[in-house]
Symmetry: C2
Subunit: 146 residues, 2 copies
Amino acid sequence: MSFTNQDLRKAGLKVTLPRVKILELLEKSSEHHLSAEDIYKTLLEQGEDVGLATVYRVLTQFEAAGIIERHQFENNYSVFEILQADHHDHIVCQNCGRVVEFTNPVIEAEQHAVAERLGFELIGHSLNLYVLCDRPECVEARKRRK
Amino acid sequence: MSFTNQDLRKAGLKVTLPRVKILELLEKSSEHHLSAEDIYKTLLEQGEDVGLATVYRVLTQFEAAGIIERHQFENNYSVFEILQADHHDHIVCQNCGRVVEFTNPVIEAEQHAVAERLGFELIGHSLNLYVLCDRPECVEARKRRK
DNA sequence: CTAATTGCAAAAGCTTTGCAGCGCA
DNA sequence: TGCGCTGCAAAGCTTTTGCAATTAG
């Protein structure tokens, strides 16, 4: 899925520089999951003159418009990502913060079954696996800390 | 599982009034999941003279000692609960904050399988189902808001 | 032209920390 | 008695809000 200025207009949002830049960042960043702070810093580095408050406002609007998703991991760590065609869950490294996506139809189906069995209307869910990851840098960093 | 003053001592924690009271609250509360604020307010109501800072400090120590577990739901909503013998996940009502526990062995097994398949060392996980709950008060409250 | 949007600064949660005094062992 | 623990107040973080100036359509 790729979002354009048209999508902004459709959502009733004027096409402004901060919005375009933030959308671009979320689409093109190699890191798929960005925090508000990440986005703010990157824009400053690129010489854009945006305020952190604007970043938050825009992200909130994008979320309401169904353009992005907000994830809150443990330790009060929030990230945003462009909405994908497919739903997926997250694996988060507790050491270096790396995020990896995965999908599992069995778990997905079970979740719905659980909610239904208990008579709840399921409106959302979040599944995060917290791990120590296998990147050489991360393994090294952990050794050094001990 | 039931924790006693002995468990505090074993954890290297002196048996002080705030700690005993907080432990008691967590064990006896009908609501199984309490926020720091909940605990603080309840203690004040009971006439105990504790500071909110102490509540946070004690909860952090309890967590480190493996006596309680901290859960962070969406919307920056954190709760604490006494550690149970069995692991379980949570269903959280997005309207009234009610928390219901559930266990599902299929999901549990799948999670481990996913981590293993991808070569990660699983050290924790959190699965939350967000729902609109079926309590009459909650259903009413939602109607009124619309 | 005019309502939406922005940057800045201030404020609002929630949680942590510094410190002097109090209390458990 | 001594060190751990506590309450209070202040500070830290992330996120939100008020406001006057700016800008898209």
